[in-house]
């Protein structure tokens, strides 16, 4: 009698779009979990880790990066079609990333200013999140993502349970770890009250105000948040810079109307000088 075949392991795919690879590296950084993970899943597509690339379908696809080129438009549809669950990881994939600054400027001008031979660069005028193109099952925020949250998503997938990824503010984490509120006790500007939790309130624990790398929380009040940043010493330009970085698309979407109006001649962050 033949031995029973080992049950097929779920197939994991890791994919990259316009991004710096930092979020994929977070998976490689899961040192304690990597060996047991490879026993539980078949790592079928993870270019950062292995040149052994298997075709789809994939049971869980982790997608890093934003849609930034015409080729991306096709590729993300194919990956979606080949994936049972598609989870986007990081600010690029969930919000368009820092490269979405070009959405608020002239992408042609950037291309001409940055590249020696701009004719080699084929790019879209905008950088957009994956969700703008295909249905996404879960978004994992952060620049980069949090290792613990990534492990939570994978273990939840394996146990077929809902992952615990709270939608509330960074303040929850500061209070839980006992960090005295920076704006209140030191007058340090901090975007934590409007920022999505998930990092464990890392920066405030070291005396640095949150700069919103996880994007907006599920419940924000920017008309109240912005005056707080101003009263803690930020100029209007500082506030603009804070909101217009890794998650510029998501923060722009919730800014009060008046914040959209940029005085003529104002240089946006990252704009060619």
């Amino acid at each position: 009698m033949a031995a029973p075949a080992a049950p097929a392991r779920p197939r994991l795919g890791v994919f990259k779009f316009a991004s710096c690879d930092g979020c994929q590296l977070t998976l490689l950084d899961c040192e304690d979990e990597l060996l047991p993970l490879s026993a539980e899943v078949e790592i079928a597509h993870f270019v950062e880790a292995s040149s052994d690339i298997q075709p789809g379908p994939y049971d869980l696809s982790l997608v890093e990066g934003s849609v930034s080129t015409p080729e991306h438009l096709e590729r993300i549809r194919r990956i979606r079609a080949e994936s049972r669950y598609l989870v986007t990881i990081g600010a690029c994939a969930t919000a368009g990333g820092v490269q979405a600054l070009r959405n608020y400027a002239d992408a042609e001008e950037f291309r001409a200013a940055v590249y020696a031979q701009p004719e080699y660069i084929e790019t879209l005028a905008t950088s957009t999140p994956i969700e703008a193109h295909v249905p996404v099952d879960l978004e994992l925020r952060g620049c980069p993502i949090d290792r613990g949250q990534l492990v939570e998503v994978i273990t939840a997938f394996l146990a077929d349970r809902r992952p615990d990824i709270p939608n509330h503010s960074v303040c929850f984490a500061c209070k839980r770890r006992g960090t005295p509120c920076l704006p209140v006790s030191r007058g340090i500007p901090c975007l934590g009250p409007a920022t999505h939790a998930g990092c464990g309130a890392l920066c405030p624990a070291y005396g640095r105000g949150c700069y919103g790398c996880f994007g907006p929380s599920g419940s924000t009040n920017m008309p109240a948040m912005i005056p707080l940043l101003r009263s803690d010493g930020m100029s209007d330009e500082d506030v603009l810079r804070l909101l217009h970085t890794f998650n510029v698309n998501d923060f722009t979407a919730i800014e009060p109307e008046r914040e959209h109006e940029v005085e003529p001649g104002t240089k946006l962050p990252g704009e060619p000088r």
């Binding site: 994978i154 939608n167 509330h168 503010s169 209070k175 839980r176 509120c181 009250p193 009040n221």
Partner: protein, 392 residues
């Protein structure tokens, strides 16, 4: 109290400890196996932390605070307990922010074994409990262990805790314990009560025991009998503190006020300012809400259930199929305030507010519970004035 059945110690146990006596108190508690928690300066704030010695107390430090503002300041008088409304409360130790409730393992045979968590907390001594905080602990006692379903985690921590109340002689700008009838003088429920006195006769603490264990510990310390000057000065300082509250609540039935103002325009006003960040609930010494968190490992053979602090400002707090019941900031702020000042009475037969002022100080945008209550009161008066029979 360390022992719930211990009667108040017989006779007058009042005595005077000097700064060495305070040092001896911490040593005595530690020698008895207690983990001493008290105020100390850390991260530009006076926080509650484990103390190795009384020298870690914030001697010579005070605080300056206002709505949304807190700064530590040097004090020339060397006082250790002349501060209020710190960033944490004792609930951090009695009702920790995250605790495991059980763990489960699946054996090679597929059999599941569930192990309830056996919390073996340290034997705490809390040094520097303010009278408002003592009341907050008693309110959480009612919530966590005062009903038919006792919370084992809280019960185990609270049951053995030795409480040293320090009366309040230096109320802050955001304090309103007088309005809530919780201070500034110590009320029953302590093992030891201290009153810090700093004057020309020196820096000292008037001490008295509330339980036999408190009396036993006092007896083991270098001390002297309470003299009239110290007694008088301690009484005067606490009485003076009662007159220096930075805030008041409107002198009305707050429960009725909140029940009658559910549709007030003021909720829109406060919602425009509220960040819905949840800081007030986590700084509050009585807010107790939690949610559960299930953790599994990669193999699926090990699972754990944890409990962590949750807040009514979190959209997930009322998440049901179809979305959050309280989707707007208005509905969430209103839920918090009406529960704290109003429906807490229906649920637990007391107010949920002790007047400590933490929610005012630690709100990043300085929303002030007393100002909101006054505004609701004013709006209800205005509404009555507009109708002939005085009814809204």
């Amino acid at each position: 109290m360390a022992s719930a059945t211990a009667p108040p110690a017989a006779g007058d146990t009042a005595c005077v400890l000097d700064r060495d006596g305070m040092g001896a108190l911490v040593r005595e508690l530690r020698a008895r196996g207690r983990t001493v928690i008290g105020p100390t300066v850390r991260d530009d704030a006076i926080v509650l932390a484990k103390l190795e010695s009384a020298e870690e107390l914030p001697y010579g430090w005070g605080v300056e605070h206002e709505a949304g503002y807190y700064r530590v300041r040097r004090r020339p008088d060397g006082a250790a307990f002349a501060h209020s409304a710190g960033p944490q409360s004792w609930k951090s130790f009695l009702h920790p922010e995250r605790v495991r409730q059980w763990a489960a393992d699946r054996g090679p045979d597929g059999e599941m074994t569930v192990r309830p968590e056996r919390d073996e907390p340290p034997s705490f001594a809390f040094l520097g409990v303010r009278p408002c905080d003592l009341r907050a602990i008693q309110i959480q006692d009612r919530v966590m262990i005062g009903g038919p379903h006792r919370d084992a985690t809280y019960g185990a921590r609270r049951g053995g805790a030795f409480l040293i109340v320090v009366e309040c002689t230096e109320p802050g700008a955001t304090c309103f314990c007088v309005s809530m009838d919780t201070g500034p003088a110590a009320r029953p429920g302590y093992d030891l009560a201290l009153t810090e006195v700093v004057d020309e006769a020196g820096h000292r603490f008037l001490a008295r025991a509330g339980t036999d264990e408190g009396a036993e510990i006092l007896a083991a310390l270098p001390r002297r009998p309470a003299d009239d000057l110290t007694r008088t000065r301690a009484r005067e300082d606490v009485e003076a503190a009662a007159g220096r509250m930075g805030r008041t609540m409107p002198e009305v039935d707050l429960r009725a006020l909140l029940a009658g103002t559910l549709d007030a325009e003021r909720w829109n006003d406060v919602a425009a300012r509220c960040l819905t960040c949840g800081n007030c609930t986590m700084a509050c010494p009585t807010c107790f809400c939690t949610t559960t968190e299930d953790v599994t490992d990669l193999t699926g053979d090990h699972a754990e259930r944890w409990r962590r602090w949750e807040s009514c400002y979190d959209l997930d707090f009322t998440h049901l199929p179809g979305g959050s019941v309280r989707g707007s900031g208005r509905s969430r702020y209103r839920q918090w305030l009406t529960h704290k000042l109003g429906t807490w009475w229906d649920q637990f037969d007391s107010s949920g507010c002790v007047g400590c002022g933490r929610c005012i100080v630690w709100c990043p945008v300085g929303i002030d519970i007393t100002e909101e209550a006054h505004a609701l009161h004013q709006e209800s008066l205005d509404g009555q004035a507009g109708t002939e029979d005085g009814r809204p």
